[in-house]
Assembly symmetry: C2
Homo-oligomer: 258 residues x 2
Amino acid sequence: MRVLENPDLEEACSLLRDGLANGEVLVLIGECEVEYEGRASSTLTSGERVVIIKQDGSILVHRPEGYEPVNWQPPGCSYRVSVSDDGLKIIATRLSPHEVLSLLFRRVDLIVSGKLQDKGVFSMYASEDEMKRAIELDPSLIEEGLKLYTSEKDLGDAGYADFVGEDSKGNFVVIEVKRTSAGTKEVLQLARYVNEVKQRVNRPVRGILVAPSLRKKGQVLLEQLKLEFKALSPEKCSKVLKKSRDVSLFEFMERWRR
Amino acid sequence: MRVLENPDLEEACSLLRDGLANGEVLVLIGECEVEYEGRASSTLTSGERVVIIKQDGSILVHRPEGYEPVNWQPPGCSYRVSVSDDGLKIIATRLSPHEVLSLLFRRVDLIVSGKLQDKGVFSMYASEDEMKRAIELDPSLIEEGLKLYTSEKDLGDAGYADFVGEDSKGNFVVIEVKRTSAGTKEVLQLARYVNEVKQRVNRPVRGILVAPSLRKKGQVLLEQLKLEFKALSPEKCSKVLKKSRDVSLFEFMERWRR
């Protein structure tokens, strides 16, 4: 990793050229102004910022506050860098659609260039709300033939059951969903819902606790109370949702920036 | 700006604490793993990354490729940092909703801390498509009482007019929109559309060129051809669109990450 503190603009430009040629990650901190011209256009007057150019040619301009970049370009940009009396100019061009992001550094406080190795695996797991949405989309995640009547069923003092429905044999089913390992507390919560429902309906009522796992004491209690457990992980729910998700963050950002 | 190259983890931790206490921007480059636990959860196994903590307490974890951060937290996080045998741990906690982002650095190649001054003004101007959308939403941007029939009207060999419509007196109106200063070329383009429309309809036809400005030669030609010009800037269209935009990038990202 090459690091230059308070370089003059020629030095910064030369490291920048070299890093870009080698496909390295570059981080620049300094005072710059920014212009964007493409499907839309924007200007940002002078200020101190952190700029990252990534190994895939994407670029991000970050102000000292706010977690969104103020300007950016996606991977695949080509770069031209030069120094003039005005300062150090970085032009990131995207061909299709034609979009040009221009940065003019008046002063560079720090420039870093280096190749980063990242083979890490990113795994995203669903939230409890997302697990419920997945179950709504595909009730067979719980069992084949299950039909859901309603979610967040108001059971008076007993609380709100995540789902009530009917199984393939016509039994009434009460479902409680948890995204982490369940125990006696969750079993008792389900039991409360089931007891309440039994007083309201005139047919067999099943209670199913849905969670990635059930701890030992919970298992014992579950059996005593004649309730049921269905193992379902956030990971699996994420997959169901992913299939049905029609807009990615990337597409949205692309649409938004137009 | 304080810069440490290849610091040991204790040194890095101490600069990190100091920078956080002073509300500085921090940039860390090194090998880390990341866990997120909140409404959803995620894990990212070890790799080399660029991490930015901003002056408002937001944090971004960037892999060497892809312009989106792999993990992030919005402004207002509180931080705990510590060193153990495992490495340098950074925990960014958001209270409501409760979300915890944990980073464990095995190795720090570079840490930078400094207060950045950024009073720059960001201005975003609409694209031509957005200008057209704004006009569709509010035709009075062109003139009071204007009704639009259709956009991208096919006029055969003459091309496609951006809009055709009718003014408050029942005249037929043909509109061509440009997002940058217009000249003779754009005037002639509009004239072509107007002539084509005149052969098709049996009533007076007006042609209006809409752009932020019209250059001198264009003005002369426009008058000769008895066409009209309406000044409309992308800035103004942006404001119209902003009012009607129901989902911000921030809200979207928040929804997406759940």
